[in-house]
Amino acid sequence: MRNGKFRKTMAILLAAAMAFGGLTACGNSSGGKKPSGGSQAADSTGGAADDSNGGAQDSTGGASAETRHHKIGVGLYTDSGKGVEAVKAYCEGISDAVDCEFVFTTLSTYDEATNLSEIQNLISSGCEGIIMTADMGTTSIVQECQSAGVYLAGFLCDYNQSMNTAFDETFGNEYFLGTVCDGMADVTPYCEAVADEIIAKGYKNIGVVIFPSYAYPNQTAGAEAFKAKIDAYNATADAADQITVADPVELNFAPLEDTYFSEHPDMDCLFSLAAGAGMVYPVMVANGKTDIKLYTTGFEGTDDTDNFGSAGNQCYQGTMFSTPEAIVYPLCLLIDRLNGTVYSDLPKTTERVECSPMMLLSDEDMKAVVDKSIYYTADYSKAFLSGEEVVQLCASYNPDATYAKLVETISHMGVDDLK
């Protein structure tokens, strides 16, 4: 009897806690929103300008456009980390000025059904536009968006899978507005830059790690470009200066095998296109191999910052990632389409565009990112673009706005633009 009472009491308490948690979260999600309308644009301008004191300042002298309120769903490929914090901070920072409410959810990079359910939930919650960072189940998601009258666009994702196997169903669908890649669709320039660094620093035995080619064909192409660059150097170098590059090892979405280092005892440098911070560096630490220099992609802002260049154990020597402000590409396309406007120079075929990547190859590069980027600090005032500037990029709020200008804007978000 006492047990029964205890259970019922606990159940009531837990249910109350759940309801309270849910209500609190509800309050947070809608907190601070201003009503839509013409006067609201001026309010939001002021609000955002108050928040900004650095990079993200109103360069337009105050946006006077009448904005329309929209609810945008953002599906991110992961639920934590600096990248996620930065995207959320940026969206929150610009939300008043662009008059958009952002709702976030977490997608899967390998399960179509999860993604479809998450997108359906966003649509059901009233989102008029969706921004997705994962290309998994895209065909059915685009169909779902079309039937619900919701527009979809990509961010931090090259949509390689859809582009190569289902172009008509995705890029050919009027409800899919395009995507901006995670930096460059072609990683060859970064791979060649790393090759130049390795040649300049005199490393001799290089390992290469990639994800499977069926999943990331661009990494295979990048590894080949890297090898070609080294081979070109070897063709003219003295025998003593020759560089040996091991055959690329494919990581099946699992950490690098410990035996890799015993198989390559002379290795002095490792180039991992496959998420080195998560898949490779911990294995190096576990095997006491942090004397090997690591060039990789992605940025965690933890060990990779502490041990980059001349800092810490100096293991990390290079990395590449892209900045959250690139979300303005899908956002502007969505806002315009929801407002019934399109750019006068909008291409007829839906595009996949690139944004300038953050290529970090020196202490100076890292310092710039740590001190001045929203990615590292989650500080909206350090963003490349303010909310008002985003408004000015939308054709529906600025008749002079062009698609070319939008694409050009996201191509100036690299490390050099921070300095």
Binding site: N3, S117, Y214
Partner: protein
Amino acid sequence: MKKLIQNDRLRAHSGSLLSYGGLALCLIVFSILSKGRLFSAYNVGILIQAACVYAILAMGAIFIYSMGYMDISVGAQVGVYCILCILITNATGSLLLGFATILALALICGLINGYVSVMLGLPSIVTSIFLNSIFGGVQMLLMEWVDTNSVGIQYDMSFLKSITAMVTAIAVIAVIAVCLYNYTQLGKYTRAIGANEKAAQLSGVSVTKWKVLAYIFFGICIAVAALFLTARTGSAGKGTGTGYAMDIMVALLLGGMPLSGGMRSRISSSLIGSFTYVILSNGLTLSGVDTSHVYVIKALVFLAVILITCRKREGVLPR
């Protein structure tokens, strides 16, 4: 006297009534928090879509859980069946052939799961671990073979994607499952095995036979679920099916299923649990809950539902 009978009836059915508590709680709380969006036509449609695969799998899995066993290979099996169904259908243009193939495979796996474990004297979970590894490897090999991250079906499966088709499928499987579970020896003996396998065996019950039959029915459900999952997403890849084993277990627990099976097992747990599980995820998004709070709230709800649906006086969890 009459009152006593009514009280006895009420007591006898209190477990069944309480098992609806979790679902009712979710419906009430989320309908308020979502400002009525939970019951919008669109949302009801997507709830059915999302719950369809879980419900079909759970209705098959209940026969296994009733015996006090569990099958962790279900996710990997679903993944491989989806890929195979797509590849065979794309190659032959016949969805029927694709489905027939995965159905045959599912039956063979059910046979292996049930029979081999008895023959070798292994716990069923061991054979399911073995099958899980095999299917996980096959899934990876298939994706490497097709040299892509995700393979799409070229057959129009929109008729299976419709809400009508999914509701019909759930209803048909539910009717079959209820009949088998409540009105045939299969249901009676699987529960008896879960209550006390040794006693069932000494009473003349052929444990091997009923175990194999239970796994075969589960296999059929897996094949049907894979077909509807393929219809829903139109594609499959290396991660398709991941997490289903755990999801099904959680769904059944949410529905009030005792983990150790036995005579208190009820077929309704599968449907109640599947819908509760789906409504939970859907409701949290509709309520505007931040993604960082979702896991904590899900855990709280899970615990609350378990406490509400708990039927044993001497313990908290339904064991």
